[in-house]
C-alpha cells in the first residue's frame, strides 16, 4: 500500500529505483545554471533535462494546472507569471461558463443532504443512492479538464486528498458532495476553516466512525487520523490519541436527518491535554467549543505548518523537496494564520520552484486530463438520438478509465489520500491504462461521444510540415513543447516506416489513419509524463 510521502519522508521505492527525482533536480540545476547539490551520478543527469522543455512558463502551467492548452498558454504569456497567479488565486473573477454549463448535467450535486433524502423518499433515487457520489467523481474529471479556474481545481484535489473521505462508500452516500462543497469554498482560503469544516461534517464523522463513539468507550479512529494525517503527523503519543478521542465524543450524525449533531449526553467531560493543548472541558454543553479550540490549536501547530508546507512542495516542486523551502513556507503559513494563497504565491515564485523543472511525474489523473486538454477535447454534446440524452456518457467512461488506473477522483481507499510521488505510481498497470487511453482518445475510438476539433491534424498542425522529420518535430513541439531526442524521433519515423527527409503529402496515411497513433505515441513517451 502506498503512503503519503509528505508524512513519511523520502520514499524508499524512489530511492531504490534510482533516485530519479533527485536526478532531475541535479540535472535541472546544471541546465539552468543554478547551483544545486549533485544528488546522483553525472551519468544520469543528461537524461531528464533532455526530456523536459525548460521554458519557465510551460513549467508553471505543467505544475499549477492540469496541463497546457493553447488558450491557457496564451493567457499566461500575456499576463506574465505573477499576474496570472494572482488571477488564479481569485477564481471568482475568472469566467467559467463552459464548465458551469456542463456541470448542470449533474443536478443532484446541487441538492443538500435533505434534498438527496427527499429524492429517495419520492422514489426518484434508490435507497443508499451511490449516484450522487458517482456524479461527484465524474464532475471532478470535468472540472479538472474544462474549468478555467485551474489552480482552484488542483487545490480542491489537494485538500480532498489531505482530508480524504473515500468515495463512493455507503456511509457518506447523502453527504459526500456537500463535503466537497465545503472543500471548494476554502480550498484557496484558510486551513483552519477546512479542518473545522471536516471536523463538523457528517462525512468525516461517518467515515472515521466518530458518529458512533461513546463517552464510555471512545472510538479512536477519527482522533488518531486528526492528529496523524490531518494536522501534526507522527509526533503524537497514544495518550494524545486517547485524549483527543475522548474530547471528540458527542460529535455525531443525526440518524433521522443525516446532519451533523452534537449530542451532549455522549460527551465525556473533564480536563483534556493533547500535544501541549489543554482545556478544562468542564461541561457537556461546552464540548463543541472545546473541540473548536483544539482545532484552532492544531491548525496553527508548527508541526502542522511544516507538514502542509512539505505536502504542497511535494505536489508542486519535487518528490523530495528542499528543506529550506519547506521551512520558509511553513513560516509564511503561520504568519498568514493558515491562509493558503500566500503560501502558494511564495512557493511558485521561489527559486526552488524555478529550479525544479522536470522534477515531477504526472499521475494517471494528471496524465489523462492533460491529454484531453492538449488535444482540444470539449464536453460531449447532448445527443438523445445517439443514446446520450444526459450528455454524460463520455465523462463516465473517462472516470472509469481512471478507476482502472487506480486514480479516480476521491476513490483512494484509506484516509491518507492518494500518494503524490512518482515512485508510487510507477506501476505497470498505470502505464498500460495511460497508453491505451492516449490511443483511444487520439484515434477517436473511445469514448466516442467527446467533442473534438473538426480535424485533429489541423488543430495540432496549423501549417503542414513538408517532410516526415518535420511531422514528428511538429507533433512533438505541439504536445510536449520540444523536439524529441534523435533516438526517439528515429523510433517514430521507424513506426511510420519513413525517412526524415521523405516528402509528406496531405493524403499520406500518417496524416490520416495513422495520425492518431503518432499522437498517442508522443503522449506515451517519457516527455509527456513529466509534469
Amino acid at each position: 500500500m502506498p503512503f503519503d510521502s509528505a508524512r513519511s519522508g523520502p520514499d524508499r521505492r524512489r530511492l531504490l529505483k534510482g533516485g530519479a527525482a533527485g536526478t532531475v533536480m541535479g540535472a535541472v540545476g546544471i541546465a539552468a545554471g543554478v547551483a544545486l547539490p549533485a544528488t546522483t551520478a553525472s551519468a544520469a543527469t543528461a537524461d531528464v533535462a533532455a526530456f523536459t522543455s525548460t521554458d519557465p512558463l510551460r513549467h508553471l502551467l505543467r505544475r499549477a494546472t492540469y496541463g497546457a492548452t493553447p488558450q491557457s498558454e496564451a493567457e499566461l504569456r500575456g499576463l506574465g507569471a505573477v499576474a496570472w497567479l494572482d488571477r488564479q488565486l481569485q477564481p471568482a473573477t475568472i469566467d467559467d461558463a463552459v464548465c458551469d454549463s456542463f456541470l448542470t448535467r449533474f443536478p443532484l450535486l446541487n441538492l443538500d443532504i435533505a434534498g438527496v433524502r427527499a429524492e429517495v423518499t419520492a422514489g426518484r433515487l434508490p435507497v443508499g443512492a451511490f449516484g450522487v457520489m458517482q456524479d461527484l467523481a465524474r464532475a471532478a474529471v470535468a472540472r479538472a479538464t474544462w474549468s478555467n479556474r485551474q489552480l482552484l481545481e488542483v487545490m480542491v484535489d489537494f485538500w480532498s486528498n489531505h482530508l480524504n473521505v473515500t468515495t463512493p462508500s455507503s456511509d457518506v452516500w447523502d453527504n459526500r458532495h456537500t463535503y466537497d462543497r465545503m472543500i471548494r469554498a476554502s480550498a484557496l482560503g484558510r486551513f483552519v476553516d477546512l479542518l473545522k469544516g471536516s471536523a463538523f461534517s457528517p462525512a468525516m464523522l461517518s467515515y472515521l466512525d466518530n458518529r458512533s463513539s461513546t463517552k464510555a468507550n471512545p472510538n479512536e479512529n477519527y482522533g488518531r487520523e486528526l492528529l496523524e494525517l490531518h494536522t501534526v503527523g507522527m509526533v503524537y503519543t497514544e495518550a494524545d490519541v486517547a485524549q483527543a478521542a475522548r474530547l471528540l465524543t458527542g460529535m455525531t450524525v443525526d440518524r433521522k436527518t443525516g446532519q451533523y449533531r452534537y449530542d451532549a449526553n455522549q460527551h465525556a467531560v473533564g480536563p483534556v491535554t493533547v500535544l501541549g493543548f489543554s482545556h478544562p472541558n468542564a461541561t457537556a454543553a461546552g464540548g463543541e467549543a472545546a473541540v473548536s479550540a483544539l482545532l484552532d490549536y492544531l491548525a496553527m501547530h508548527p508541526a502542522t505548518a511544516a507538514r502542509i508546507a512539505r505536502k504542497l512542495c511535494v505536489r508542486f516542486v519535487s518528490d523530495d523537496p528542499p528543506a529550506a523551502l519547506i521551512s520558509r513556507l511553513a513560516q509564511v503559513y503561520l504568519t498568514a494564520g493558515s491562509a493558503v494563497a500566500p503560501v502558494l504565491r511564495a512557493l511558485f515564485t521561489s527559486p526552488e520552484f524555478a529550479a525544479s523543472i522536470g522534477a515531477k511525474v504526472r499521475t494517471p489523473m494528471e496524465d489523462l486530463v492533460a491529454t484531453l486538454r492538449v488535444l482540444g477535447i470539449t464536453p460531449e454534446p447532448i445527443d438523445a438520438a445517439g443514446g446520450n440524452p444526459a450528455g454524460t456518457e463520455a465523462i463516465r467512461a473517462l472516470e472509469w478509465t481512471l478507476q482502472s488506473a487506480g486514480h479516480a477522483p476521491m476513490r483512494w481507499g484509506t484516509p491518507d489520500g492518494y500518494p503524490d510521488v512518482a515512485a508510487l505510481w510507477a506501476s505497470t498497470t498505470g502505464y498500460l491504462v495511460r497508453w491505451n487511453a492516449h490511443l483511444n482518445i487520439a484515434a477517436n475510438w473511445y469514448p466516442k461521444q467527446l467533442g473534438r476539433p473538426e480535424s485533429m491534424v489541423r488543430y495540432l498542425l496549423p501549417t503542414l510540415p513538408t517532410t516526415y522529420g518535420g511531422l514528428v518535430d511538429a507533433v512533438a513541439l505541439q504536445l510536449v513543447g520540444m523536439r524529441l531526442r534523435p533516438e526517439h524521433t528515429a523510433a517514430l519515423l521507424s513506426f511510420l516506416g519513413k525517412a526524415a527527409t521523405t516528402a509528406l503529402k496531405p493524403t499520406d496515411n500518417a496524416l490520416n489513419g495513422k495520425f492518431g497513433y503518432l499522437v498517442a505515441l508522443v503522449l506515451d513517451s517519457p516527455y509527456f509524463s513529466v509534469r
Binding site: P2, A20, A43, S212, A426, W435, L439, H488, P526
Partner: protein, 446 residues
C-alpha cells in the same frame, strides 16, 4: 525510518541498493527476452516456457489483510475466559465456533475452509506481531512490508526474497487485483501489477502499427523510474494477451466468489498453472479496519461477511489447484496489526497489536493453531493489546527456508531467526534455483 542508503546492512545475494544502470540493465535483459519471444512467432507454450524461471520452490501467495485484521475474531481464544469479558457484544460464542481445539476455534464464517483445516492443509499461528508495533496504519503497513526495522534497507521483503532466489522473469513477483504494486515488492527484482490478466492488453498493436516496438524504443535512455515499468509492460503484455486468449475454466468444479478477492485468486491460479514463472503473488484484501460494526458472528455483519469472502476465495483456489498444484503453493495471510482486545462502543474494536496468521498449502502441517499464547488477562496485555509473542517474520522465514529455498534468511529479514514450529514439511528438492527444475511433487495434501 527513512535513513541514508547503506548497503552494508544487507547480506543479500543481490545488493538492495540499485544504481540506475542496474535497473536499466535488468530491464533491458528482461526486455531482450520478451523481444526474442515475440519474434519467435511460436505458440503460447514456447513463449511461456521462455518466460519461465527455473525456480525450485513453492509459489508463495501473500494475502495482505490490510486495515488491521481482527485475529481474535477469526481464530477465537474461546478457552481464555478473559476473551468474553473483554468482548461482551462482539465475542464469537463458543457454540458457534468450528474446528479448532480446546483453546481456539474458527469463526463460523470460515466454514468453507473447514475441510482444508481438518485435512491438515490449513493452520493458524496466533499472537503474531511486529517487533516494533505501531497503531498507525500507515507506519505499521510500511514497516510490515519493509520488514527490516532498525536497518537502512529500503526494499520490500518480498523483493529481497525474489532477489535471493535469482528471479529474472517479468512474472516473478506479481501484485494481482489492483493497479498499484505492493510495497513488499519494492526494489530491484522485477515485478508487475495487474488489475486482471484479461485487462492487461495493449491497444492498437498490429503488424501495420507496431506500437509495442515503438514504445520500447521510446523508453530508450529514459529515466529509470519511467523506463522500468514501461519495459515491464512491453515484456509482459504478450504473455497476458496469450493467456487471456486461451480463456480459463477453473478445475475440479471450483467456483470462485464474484468478488474482487475471488477474481484476484482466480488470476493467481491462472498464473500459477500457466507456468509463466510466478514465484510470488501478492493480493491485497483490505477493509478490515472495523472500528465500527465489526458485529456479531452472523451473516450481514462486517466481520462475518468479510471472512466468508476470504474463506470462499481460498477454498476455491485450493480446489482449483488440486492436490498436486497445492503441493507447490503456500498461501499466507498477514496484516499490519491486530485489534484491541476490549471492544469499543461502536460494536467494533480499535487498533491493537497481536494477531493471527493463516497458512494454507499442500505441505502445511495444519489442523492446528501454533504459537505461544500469552493470555488475555489484564496483566498479560500490553497497553490493552494482545501481546505479540512471535515475530511474523520468523513465521514467514520458516516458510521461506523450508519451502522456497531461501538459505540466507538474514538477506530477507536481518537478524531474524526462523520459527521452529514445524509449520510445513520441508520441500525435498530445495536447492539452488539454477540446478533444479520445478516439477510437481507426488505428495499432495494429507
Amino acid at each position: 525510518m527513512m535513513m541514508a542508503k547503506n548497503t552494508s546492512d544487507c547480506g543479500c545475494a543481490q545488493p538492495p541498493s540499485l544504481s540506475r544502470r542496474g535497473v536499466l540493465g535488468r530491464a533491458l535483459a528482461v526486455g531482450a527476452g520478451g523481444a526474442l519471444a515475440s519474434l519467435s512467432g511460436e505458440g503460447l507454450a514456447t513463449r511461456l516456457a521462455f518466460a519461465a524461471t527455473p525456480y525450485a520452490g513453492d509459489t508463495l501467495v501473500v494475502l495482505s489483510l490490510r486495515g488491521g485484521f481482527d485475529g481474535l475474531s477469526a481464530v477465537v481464544p474461546a478457552g481464555d475466559p478473559d476473551y468474553y469479558r473483554a468482548r461482551p457484544t462482539i465475542g464469537v460464542p463458543k457454540e458457534r465456533l468450528i474446528a479448532g481445539d480446546s483453546m481456539f476455534g474458527l469463526h463460523p464464517a470460515l466454514a468453507p475452509l473447514r475441510e482444508l483445516w481438518q485435512a491438515g492443509n490449513l493452520a493458524a499461528i496466533h499472537a503474531v506481531g511486529q517487533p516494533n508495533p505501531s497503531r498507525s496504519h500507515f507506519q505499521a503497513m510500511e514497516e510490515l512490508e519493509r520488514a527490516a526495522p532498525g536497518t537502512s534497507l529500503r526494499t520490500g521483503w518480498l523483493d529481497r526474497t525474489l532477489g535471493l532466489l535469482g528471479a529474472t522473469g517479468s512474472f516473478s513477483g506479481v501484485s494481482v487485483g489492483r493497479p498499484l504494486p505492493s510495497r513488499a515488492l519494492s526494489g530491484p527484482a522485477p515485478d508487475l501489477s495487474l488489475n486482471s490478466i484479461d485487462a492487461f492488453k495493449l491497444s492498437g498493436d498490429s503488424p501495420d502499427t507496431r506500437m509495442a516496438a515503438a514504445l520500447r524504443d521510446l523508453y530508450t535512455n529514459a529515466p529509470a523510474m519511467m523506463a522500468a515499468p514501461a519495459r515491464a509492460v512491453s515484456d509482459a503484455v504478450t504473455t497476458t494477451t496469450a493467456l487471456s486468449a486461451t480463456g480459463y475454466v477453473p478445475a475440479n468444479g471450483a467456483v470462485y466468489p464474484e468478488t474482487a478477492l475471488g477474481k484476484a485468486m482466480r488470476d493467481v491460479a491462472r498464473l500459477t498453472k500457466g507456468d509463466v514463472g510466478l514465484m510470488a503473488a501478492y493480493v491485497d484484501f483490505g477493509d478490515w479496519d472495523m472500528h465500527q460494526g465489526l458485529g456479531t458472528a452472523v451473516a450481514g455483519q462486517r466481520m462475518y461477511d468479510h471472512l466468508a469472502d476470504l474463506a470462499a476465495a481460498l477454498s476455491a483456489f485450493a480446489t482449483d489447484l488440486g492436490q498436486t498444484g497445492m503441493s507447490n503453493v503456500t498461501v499466507l495471510t498477514m496484516s499490519e496489526f491486530g485489534r484491541r482486545v476490549h471492544e469499543n462502543g461502536s460494536m467494533g474494536a480499535d487498533h491493537g497489536n497481536g494477531n493471527a496468521m493463516l497458512l494454507l498449502g499442500g505441505a502445511v502441517r495444519g489442523n492446528k493453531v501454533y504459537g505461544d499464547w500469552p493470555g488475555l488477562a489484564a496483566n498479560r496485555l500490553v497497553a490493552g493489546d494482545l501481546a505479540a509473542t512471535t515475530d511474523y517474520r520468523a513465521v514467514i522465514g520458516e516458510i521461506l527456508q523450508r519451502r522456497c529455498g531461501v538459505t540466507d534468511l538474514a538477506g530477507v529479514f536481518p537478524g531474524v531467526k526462523a520459527s521452529a514450529f514445524g509449520l510445513v514439511d520441508a520441500r525435498p528438492q530445495i536447492a539452488t534455483p539454477a540446478a533444479v527444475k520445478k516439477k510437481p511433487t507426488a505428495t499432495g495434501s494429507r
